[in-house]
Point group: C2
DNA sequence: ATTTCTGCAAACACTTTGCAAGCTA
DNA sequence: TAGCTTGCAAAGTGTTTGCAGAAAT
């Protein structure tokens, strides 16, 4: 599944969502969706806003937030609020289901996936008669043992 | 293990931590520690500050935050930042290891424990050669199937 | 034509910070 | 005594909100 079609799929879904909610399809909203889907990994609202200025100068930060909220409700974007106070977003389609490890030594965020989690969810659904909607698992780790791929020092707010 | 000794243990550990870090043992810091350990469940900084006014009038919010940071570093307090923007804290000692389910329908936060998580951590430590320090697992659920103990409607910021 | 959106800027809520006075070691 | 801490209040941060003009249906 190439990245191209993932965006198409997201666009279609978003349009359907807007129509179903009697909301309007605006260039700004579509631009935000495209911008997130063009970005791999996490991105925060301010950065997204900055990136959007290139092709859509004037698009406001308020609209970015507004749209992220809609996209989140539409299930097209995931929001994470690690420990920084900032919320980061990422596309929800075209990504394998994953969670995050936060390296306490170098600040690096590493994704991982463990199928055992699904079993935990199944277990919970039965034990509590709840319906598991989504989740967020953060594992705080230390890489000092050896080879954290992004050693201490630098670690800027990653360029593009 | 009665609750009483848990506080004692925490106090000892905190004193040791302060000494080790060449920090000072102050009445304010001890008061904050006691206040958290006297509270069961989550509590936010403002509420903790409010509670502390009873026995320690004048103790400032800044000191509460300052101390929570120290306690967190000392491993005596856990901080969670669910989705509300507010950070909530809870004592780390004298509690079984647990995670949280957040009911999307009624806002209730339910604790649970699943030993399978430990296996995931072991797996990760081996696979990545990381040292797992701590974690936070949030599962967003819906209770509409039936008996969420705290139905919709009310749901105030729980009294004491 | 109606209703929703947008951009702007002010408002917000929580947390952090700077500084002088006070307390710990 | 020397240096960390405290309380206060002001400053920050990221996010939300109110409103008038602009755009979508």
């Amino acid at each position: 599944m190439p990245d191209e079609s993932t965006l198409q799929q997201a666009l279609r879904r978003f349009e359907a969502f807007l129509k179903a909610q009697k909301l309007k399809k605006t260039p700004e909203r579509m631009a935000v969706l495209e911008a997130i889907y063009a970005h791999n990994g996490h991105i925060e609202a301010a950065k997204l806003h900055e990136v959007l200025q290139e092709r859509h100068p004037g698009l406001s930060l308020a609209t970015v937030y507004n749209t992220l909220e809609l996209l989140s409700r539409a299930g097209l974007v995931l929001a994470h609020r690690f420990d920084t106070g900032k919320t980061v977003y990422e596309k929800a389609l075209g990504r394998y289901q994953h969670d995050h490890m936060l390296c306490q030594d170098c600040g690096r965020i590493v994704e991982f996936c463990d199928p055992a989690l699904q079993e935990i969810f199944s277990h919970i659904e039965e034990a509590y008669d709840f319906e598991v909607h989504h989740h967020a698992l953060l594992i705080y780790v230390r890489c000092r043992k050896s080879h954290c791929p992004h050693r201490p020092s630098v670690q800027s707010t990653q360029a593009s």
